[in-house]
Subunit: 342 residues, 3 copies
């Protein structure tokens, strides 16, 4: 790679780098998972927008449709440099799959660690008519198998998207004087007024901005529950069902659904309220599950207090969470060892 | 209303929560008063804009007209979660009164403290024609007395707004080689180019952005005077006489007017200069009095150096400040005990 | 370059990329020169800190000592992606020379333009003792001539650094009721309280943060003078004489020194006031000359009102500015054609 120009940054690759600052981290100096998710999404948006405009025709902006399950393999710290590199690995007729890798570099010691790997799906929306999905130019594959594998991933995520839509009616109700370690004890919400720098050229919120806010709420829920420093361990697949427009107020709410010995699962909802422009009803835009671990002062994972479930719904959600936990654990036996299992 | 979850977040209530970050605070780790004022105003703007658009008709954005005197009852620290809850408590034909409460929560210990209570007045301006004030839909009162009390508050603030208009001709002149502890020694000013994220959908500066800049200047004046860590103790009623448009340069200037044994009063002016778009004259948009206390390294209020007043104007302003100080002190005897009195 | 990991990001090269947001630009949609200078400096700081720590021994952070004259060759716009690539081109015993190139990419059309080229000098300061300058590991040169050219540049900048020190006693005095187009008419200053995210691991302000604030003041001076949209055309060599510590208040002041037919030269001073921690005297930390051009609504450079100089000092500074202007113009005849000459 030459240092002159975005060399190598052809249609299929890009790299973002940035020093991590105090505001990117929690008190213990660990960079928020949400900050990393935001950088990942920015890299994905750049590379897929660039690719979808590479053939002459109608201009478009690539909008985030889905992020596959993401593990945080290793923490990133203040003062380290985050390197986020993205590559297009599959294209269907109307969508782009982007693989992103995140590396942390300690520029004092030279130490480097892979901190994240993520897969994102983007859809090109016309710049003139945001409701029109354009066609994606096909990419070249080095081997035929790469295309076939990509197609399999494409079909799988398509199926999963259909299933998750059903969870969207759920609402988090406030609880008065909750008992310690119940769901109501730690549930939290925040609201955010969408500003211009949160948005794409279309005037809709960047997926990365939404994920950063979701991680913020999930982190507060986790810290309220276990009252220690906590850190994002993984994020389940996130589907972006509905776009969110500039000027909306978004409410991001989180509640704990499951605890294992050393991890907590938090469900997060994003609801948009387009109250000024068009008095449309408030709607559910995104939902996802975040998994957190609790850290000792030395930065080692420690046991978390068990979640006290009371209602039938809470018990059902706990069992569902346990299912996801065991499934992930089983998958990991044959793969590498991320943070939650240490 | 509980601090957990968006309790009662119906049309008449809203809650913002956010973790306080290193950039929100001074070196001692105390969150700037201006950061809290900005959050308070954002909550007020959302709830009153939502309410004023709740009936079909012309769309509007609620603009801040006035903030009543606000005490900072307790400091907020980095890592704590600020919960800002807002509720509409009175509506006149053309204005909305919003009550805001701020709670700090230490999510590690679970400790909570009320840090602020504030009352704000908003006016709905048409989205199509920003100079047109729309009618406010009336709210329902639980008791008739609530409406009568609200009306009394409405009449009082209307009267006060008229009086303060007269102070607006005043200008802060620079001083060469000022003696220590004189007015010229600590007076300060900053300029800010109004950017897109500072503004509402109308393209005018959010009242909260202006208040944050005012607190920034007042804090620098206070720190220059006593050369210690300082913290906002209270803000007198602020009237927003004139709107400030995107692209303006605003000059925020502050000078000390009065010192008691342990507090400093600083007068702050905001002048807008709309020099690019329309070569209109520079005008005074806002003015207010901020009160600060000086803190020891242990965070306890300590005596401040007495202000040296020289000119007749300075002496008159000192006496006026003393009047405000004594009046507030008298009121407090029958109420609670905020920070300045410790 | 592979998209996986900071490939090619060996000791000698790095690339930062970022989408330009509304907050990075003026009303006309052009990205502020200061935003670009800040990105350039971040790339330089990363690559030189990485290089200086590449040999075992005491850890250090590279501090910006000097930026050579920089031209803004082409504007960058909102929605474009900025690619900033940096490379180490020379090392002396105690300093590192970094060459930085900035490219703008329109990801919709695929158009790319070189917008900046810059040369920066860094000095490695020990992490344990910030006043101790460490030795720089030598780099390998592809040809012997590259080393000799580098040495020549090193000697030249060393000489120039000595000369500029003399300008530092100068102060900008306020003027009452200035006439249009005089120096006092447009001179401006802002103050900034240095926060944690402005600082390096040492707790000292990043050179890029300082340059961004300087560009902000210079831009306001230029806009006040000609009341149009303005854009940074070039920045003369900037020397960073003194470090600025976290918690300081810095005053950044600018005044116009010279106007040609279509350009304005603005002198900017940065003074630091370490009033809380250690009651040290206020000191001059940085000074520089910025050149701006005035743009029509179509984005073309237009004539600027001539600066009215009154005092002997103003006349002398105008002549000095004219000298710099003619010198640069002469140099350019044999080089490329940047924005100021159109």
């Amino acid at each position: 790679m030459s240092a002159r120009g975005p060399a190598g940054a052809g249609p299929a690759a890009i790299q973002l780098s940035r020093i991590m600052r105090p505001d990117d981290a929690n008190i213990a100096g660990n960079v928020h998972g949400g900050t990393i998710l935001k950088m990942i999404e920015e890299a994905g948006a750049i590379i897929s927008t660039r690719h979808c405009n590479s053939q002459s025709g109608e201009h478009c902006v690539a909008a985030l449709a889905r992020v596959e399950r993401t593990d945080f393999l290793s923490p990133m710290c203040i003062g380290e440099v985050a390197h986020v590199s993205a590559e297009i690995t599959y294209t269907s007729k109307h969508s782009v799959e982007v693989q992103v890798n995140v590396l942390s570099e300690n520029i004092l010691t030279g130490a480097k660690r892979v901190t994240n790997r993520a897969t994102l799906w983007y859809v090109p929306l016309s710049l003139k008519n945001v409701d029109k999905v354009l066609e994606v130019p096909p990419i070249q594959y080095a081997w035929k198998e790469l295309e076939e594998d990509g197609k399999k991933r494409y079909e799988e995520q398509k199926l999963e998207r259909l299933v998750t839509k059903q969870r969207n009616g759920d609402i988090i109700f406030p609880v008065f004087n909750p008992e310690p370690y119940t769901v109501g004890y730690s549930q939290s919400s925040l609201i955010h007024l969408v500003g211009p720098s949160d948005c794409t050229l279309h005037g809709f919120v960047h997926g990365g901005v939404t994920m950063k806010l979701m991680d913020e709420v999930a982190g507060i829920v986790a810290a309220r529950h276990c009252k220690t420093n906590i850190v994002t361990a993984s994020v389940d697949a996130i589907n972006f069902h509905e776009k969110i427009k500039k000027g909306c107020v978004i409410t991001i709410s989180g509640r704990m659904t499951f605890t294992s010995n050393k991890s907590m699962e938090i469900e997060v909802f994003v609801d948009a309220d387009p109250f000024v422009d068009e008095p449309k009803e408030r709607y559910r835009a995104v939902s996802a599950f975040f998994t957190y671990v609790s850290l000792s002062k030395e930065g080692k994972p420690v046991p978390v207090p068990q979640l006290v479930v009371e209602t039938e719904d809470e018990k059902r959600r706990f069992e569902d969470g346990k299912g996801r936990y065991l499934q992930t654990k089983a998958k990991r036996q044959v793969q590498m060892q991320p943070l939650t299992q240490q």
